[in-house]
């Protein structure tokens, strides 16, 4: 009975009692009478899990299996290989994926790539410029509705509409960004959240333009014109309707985003954004035009959101306000933070995790979102800086203590 053991036991007992008090009223008090079995089951399961975690962490500390060291060694050996080899192998895997995967895998992959694009766009605002944006999905909505309206009313082709979607989203970004430039920190969060909600409500209620909650139907998929040698100089029209062709389209968009964001990060503008993130006052003092650059961050972030939105509308061939709720913004933000703010591989991993996790939990059925929420908390507890944190993030002195 060491004191450490005593304190752990005490904590477990207190936690069990506490959990029982929380679970029992919700499961056990029924108009027919009181019931204890279900609450006891849940609390018992939680207690077993907690004991297993405590035991595992104690054992892990005592017995060093050397797994960690072996992994590090293998990783360092692998990373010694030339970068071009990695890139070629990765590209080949990405290109071959839809051919080898079943339909279900293709759909999940398309979803992941859409969120990679969104995550990287939001990364410009949150990760680089350090402006907390809780309404990012509004730009996704602007892009989707722009293409939907252009396609349905003017029969405009996807490729012509794409730059327009990006432009409208950028304008929306400036429109939302402008009034928020004077605000800092969390005031920004609620204002962007408010703008996101305003957009959704307007889409939901402006029946004449957007069809309200019913959405817009009959959006055209993107088309490619390929030379058809058999009828002379004619061209054959190929609609990108199958999941495979959509996969390649969104892969191209996502790769373009990755390259663009990477170049932006390394550019003067990217450095200026990072300076604003680290200390706005100091950045302004060093001659960074904080006003223009913050606005630019909103606009650039919005562009990628708009492009992803246009793709989404073309893929679903249907848009409705239900796709642009706050929870979507929260999901994209979670990808950025979970992956590691400002780090491109991190965000790709974050998107993969957050889309793939609920898919993997499908067997839990009703418990899927419950497990998802708990997993989010645990991932933050174990890796607060994200899965693959960016290297170039400073720490302010006033955050270090307290």
């Amino acid at each position: 009975m060491t004191p450490a053991f005593k304190s752990v036991t005490f904590k477990l007992i207190l936690g069990t009692a506490w959990l029982f008090l929380l679970v029992w009223p919700m499961t056990g008090i029924k108009p027919e009478g009181l019931e204890f079995a279900q609450a006891a089951q849940i609390v018992g399961a939680a207690l077993v899990a907690a004991m297993a975690i405590v035991l595992a962490s104690k054992l892990g500390r005592k017995v060093d299996l050397g797994v960690g060291r072996a992994v590090v060694k293998a990783a360092s050996r692998l990373s010694a290989l030339p970068g071009a080899l990695w890139k070629t192998a990765g590209m080949a895997a990405l290109l071959a994926f839809p051919v080898l995967s079943p339909r279900y895998g293709q759909d999940v992959a398309i979803n992941v790539l859409v969120y990679v694009t969104l995550g990287l766009g939001l990364n410009i605002v949150v990760g680089l410029a350090g402006l907390l944006d809780l309404g990012y999905i509004a730009f996704y909505g602007v892009g989707a509705y722009t293409y939907a309206l252009l396609s349905v009313h003017f029969q405009m082709s996807f490729w012509l509409a794409l730059p327009l979607c990006a432009a409208f989203a950028a304008m929306a970004g400036c429109f939302i960004g402008y009034p928020t430039l004077r605000m800092r920190g969390d005031y920004l969060a609620i204002v962007t959240l408010g703008f996101g909600e305003i957009l959704r409500l307007v889409l939901n209620n402006w029946m004449k333009l957007t069809g309200g909650p019913n959405g817009i139907l009959g959006i055209k998929p993107p088309a490619l014109y390929l030379p058809a040698p058999e009828n002379g100089w004619g061209m054959s029209r190929f609609l990108l309707k199958s999941p495979i062709s959509q996969y390649y389209l969104i892969l191209a968009i996502a790769l373009f985003t990755v390259i663009a964001v990477r170049r932006l990060t390394d550019s003067r503008i990217g450095r200026a954004w990072e300076a604003i993130r680290e200390d706005e006052t100091a950045a302004a003092l060093m001659g960074v035009n904080t006003f223009a650059l913050k606005l630019l961050a909103y606009a650039m972030g919005a562009v990628f959101g708009g492009v992803a939105g246009a793709f989404f509308a073309a893929k679903m061939r249907f848009v409705s306000p239900g796709s642009f709720t706050f929870i979507e913004s929260a999901m994209v933000l979670s990808m950025v933070v979970l992956g590691g703010m400002g780090s491109i591989p991190g965000i790709v991993l974050g998107a993969l995790t957050l889309i793939a996790l609920p898919e993997a939990f499908r067997e839990f059925e009703h418990y899927r979102m419950l497990v998802f929420g708990a997993a989010m908390v645990f991932m933050m507890l174990f890796r607060p800086a994200g899965l693959l944190p960016a290297k170039r993030v400073g720490r302010r002195s006033e955050e270090a203590h307290s």
């Binding site: 009034p179 909600e197 409500l201 979102m369 933050m380 307290s402």
Partner: protein, 303 residues
């Protein structure tokens, strides 16, 4: 004119609900600079525990004999339940992240919110649950206006709780410790205040107020739903920011303003756009007063 005054009564009732929720946001923000996304779920949990307790008491016939005692008991128990829940959530999801960046805590809060909402759905079902409607029967006519008893209960309880909170924060030792911790945690520790205890208590008080608001909303509208915490949560957060986040009086004022805007937009303009107007007012106020109505100038913290 009568219509106007009647709407004003409705608006004050609704504003009281928002204010009670907003207080929790503002107190937690004031002390650890966290937007507690799980706060809306405390509100929902309070509403559900209220319906669970009242339905049980109703089935056993206590409601007929002692209706007011039952209601008071439901309030006390639901508020303590929410306080316990909030302290547990704080201990598990926020305390280990005290030193991490603000965004990681925000995400942890978001995960907790999803977890609690789904937990509520799994234990209580996806359908609306109705409150036993014994308090809704009568209306009081006073100088040509109709107050339902429910409105009186709602406004009275909200006012009572808010006055109580104000006294607690500004007149007691605990309140002094809370204010000290929110001003400077390190200095507060130096004068013998335990910040962890104070943070825990702050969460408990905020959640208890949200839980009370949950019961009031359940009684007033007649039913609760597992996802009821989400929209009022966002609006109450807007109210807290509108009043100046971190300021207790500001949260009350902000809640009232959001409630008034919502009811009057619905009454005079269009009920479809009532939420749009609340957010437009919020953005307009923040544009001209970037720290809210009663907020102090926060130093430039980054996300």
């Amino acid at each position: 004119m009568d219509f106007f005054l009647q709407q004003l009564i409705n608006a004050i009732t609704l504003g009281g609900f928002y204010a009670l929720i907003a207080l929790g946001y503002t107190m937690v923000y004031g002390i650890i600079q966290l937007i507690n996304f799980a706060h809306g779920e405390f509100f929902a949990a309070g509403g559900y525990l209220g319906v669970v307790l009242l339905a049980w008491m109703n089935a056993h016939g206590y409601m007929e004999t002692h209706p007011w005692l039952c209601l008071a008991l439901a309030f006390v128990l639901a508020m303590s339940y929410c306080a316990l829940l909030a302290m547990g959530v704080e201990k598990i999801a926020y305390k280990p992240l005290r030193r991490a960046s603000k965004l990681s805590v925000l995400l942890s809060a978001l995960g907790m919110s999803i977890f609690l909402q789904n937990g509520l759905m799994l234990t209580q079902g996806v359908y609306d649950k109705s409150y036993p409607g014994v308090y809704a029967k009568d209306a009081l006519t006073l100088g040509g206006f109709n107050f339902t008893y429910l409105q009186l209960i709602a406004v009275g309880t909200s006012a009572l709780l808010m006055v109580g909170l104000n006294r607690l924060v500004y007149k007691t030792r605990l309140g002094k410790a809370m204010r000290a911790t929110s001003q400077d945690r390190v200095m507060a520790t130096l004068v013998g205040i335990s910040p962890n205890r104070i943070i825990s208590v702050t969460f408990a008080i905020g959640a208890a107020l949200a839980g009370a608001s949950g019961i009031l909303v359940g009684l007033y509208y007649g039913s609760v739903r597992y996802d009821m915490g989400f929209v009022p949560g966002i609006k109450a957060f807007a109210a807290a920011v509108l009043g100046g986040i971190g300021s207790v009086t500001g949260a009350m004022l902000g809640g009232l303003i959001i409630g008034i805007t919502e009811i009057f937009t619905a009454a005079y303009i269009s009920s479809d756009y009532k939420d749009v107007f609340s957010f437009v007012i919020l953005i307009a106020v923040l544009y001209f007063m970037p720290t809210g109505l009663l907020g102090e100038n926060i130093n430039d913290t980054r996300v």
